[in-house]
């Protein structure tokens, strides 16, 4: 298998920053996943990143991820062992060797957790994921669009408990895994969506891990040089800068395990006199500028610090912060009727139709 690139412990810094940019305000803290990945790479050696096209059609590919509340993960740092345990238990259940590791989501913490398993197992990691961003529920992956069942799925906790799920739909997998995760203390480790190389070639959002690495590297290099970090990142993503402003009011409430809320921004400089409102449910899902809907899920809304270009999560929005909001198109798979049924604005309870963002 031709290796696209080799990822060393120090490369995880860039990947975590890139993961936070694609995390669109949610997806959990990549810092935790970065530490786990670095520890695993230092112990077991670097990770081989491969293009999905390199996989034989009959290869067995298995995504791994963490599930649960981002805040819990930060306080209850998981050990890489539990991810490996879930991975190996699923392998045993399937009765054959797994050939490659895959990312469920490339945004947030789960852009980094699969590196733990790739390092520990020595298996290649596919350069791609099932979202091209972050989403809060586990049926919200392009794999579901391609009718890949989430089960058999193995779910482990930090205490030594494990569950094997077989469900009638990926929505049921989400419900049962969520209930177990809550009971396990708020976070759990999963191996799920086992699929063939042939299926992975159709379903995977390609190149997202090398995109994460490149976003992080570019941000770091731009800051060291003389370019404008936000403009550089926007150009790389093909994103519109939809606003520049200061955080005003923030409304937050926790509903059904989601961190829901609305953040209001007051324009500065070119956007003086204008306003922006971002609605979030973990991730930023809708942007209204001057009272008009401008961008909705599945397109990506990302918030960066105006000076440094550092990504800012919905959780860390604070009054007075000067930020810039970017919007860019989602993977085309999300823009189909099947994709919109899974992650369109109406699924999240917003009474608006999806209108593709300008680019």
């Amino acid at each position: 298998m031709k290796i696209t690139r080799t990822i060393h412990a120090e490369d995880m810094e860039d990947i975590a920053i890139g993961g936070a940019i694609l995390g669109t305000g949610g997806g959990g803290d990549p810092y935790v996943g970065k530490l786990m990945a670095q520890q695993a790479i230092r112990k077991h050696g670097p990770v081989k990143l491969v293009d999905v096209e390199q996989l034989p059609d009959d290869a067995l590919v298995v995504p791994v991820c963490m599930m649960g509340a981002p805040t819990v993960m930060t306080e209850k740092l998981p050990q890489g062992d539990e991810l490996m345990h879930a991975f190996r238990q699923l392998e045993q259940l399937l009765g054959r060797k797994i050939d490659a590791v895959l990312c469920g989501e490339a945004g947030g913490i789960n852009s980094t957790t699969p590196f733990v398993v790739a390092a520990a197992s020595g298996l290649p990691l596919v350069d791609g994921d099932g979202m091209g961003r972050a989403y809060p529920e586990l049926q919200m992956v392009t794999f579901t669009i391609h009718n890949v069942p989430a089960t058999p799925m193995v779910l482990c906790d930090d205490k030594g408990n494990s569950l094997v799920l077989e469900t009638v739909s990926n929505a049921w997998t989400e419900r049962l895994a969520r209930a177990a995760t809550v009971e396990m203390g708020g976070s759990a480790l999963l191996a799920f969506y086992p699929m063939s190389g042939a299926t992975a070639k159709k379903a995977v959002v390609r190149g997202t891990l090398s995109l994460c690495a490149k976003l992080g590297q570019t941000l770091r290099e731009t800051r060291a040089g003389h370019g404008d970090p936000v403009e550089t990142i926007a150009a790389m993503l093909g994103a519109d800068i939809i606003f520049h402003g200061r955080v005003g009011d923030i409304e937050r409430r926790t509903v059904g395990g989601f961190a829901r809320g609305k953040a209001h921004f007051d324009g500065v400089e070119a956007w003086k006199g204008h306003s922006l409102r971002l609605d979030f449910q973990n991730e930023f899902l809708m942007a209204e500028r001057d009272g008009k809907v401008l961008v909705t899920t599945p397109d990506l809304i990302t918030v960066l610090e105006a000076e440094s270009g550092n990504p800012v999560t919905a959780d860390s929005l604070r009054y007075g912060l000067r930020l810039m909001a970017l919007a860019f198109p989602s993977n085309p798979q999300w823009r189909t009727p099947a994709g919109l049924a899974l992650v369109g604005p109406r699924y999240f309870g917003y009474d608006v139709d999806y209108t593709p963002c300008t680019k």
Copy 2:
């Protein structure tokens, strides 16, 4: 294997009544389980009841039961198929043929559900159970006292979802299975506590299914003849009749999935001028007469209609009903320190020590 007796569809009437008596006011509606068992026996043939001593030491014995809220079970009648599915999935997981079926609890609905699996599989059913009564949580079985792990456990719902649990303790099995059951709509079907014949001989509360049958038969025959149903049942169980009275106030609340409450009785006839209070959490767990604690869990408190001797659940207590309360000793395994740690009054939050009831 020597068969103690053969159970036909019509025998299930008596067993269900007996199960309700041992259900001590909770344990779910045996009527539902009776219908399931009768349907299975009519389809597959009668059930062979065997004494636990008949099992070879290396036999594989598996208990099955329903989990969930009694009221939900009545509204959402399960099919026998789901129980068989859980049973067969556990068999496959264990990689060897199961030799006999076992009851988890002999009180309430689960005194009858194992007949479904015994009939459909053609396997013998052990005459005994893991409680000798009903209790609300799945670690509350004599098997736990004997360090039998509840897992691997298979949990199925009526939609086709299933879970395999591996847990670090039986208390964790309860927590995770409870969360899944709630998510599945309030009831689920389990196969769990796989154990050897040798272990079963130590752990099982013996003879409880034939006791159920005998209680039901005796009640039926006494009513047809001239004896006093309540006195006859009390004599059979070695029970004290601790009260005769009418239901007065009832306080009910639902806490953490339990139907908790207190029922007050005003004495009649020999008990005129006296009062009784029964505390329940699904089951009747404590009896106070004239303000003094008289009986607590694990000893059994059962309420019968004064005239007919029919068992009355906590759920169906209504103002003005004339009832008699019986108390009788639990299986000796529950009266040990290990037993009391699992099901003693303090586990249920009552600030009293267990004092063995008089007999």
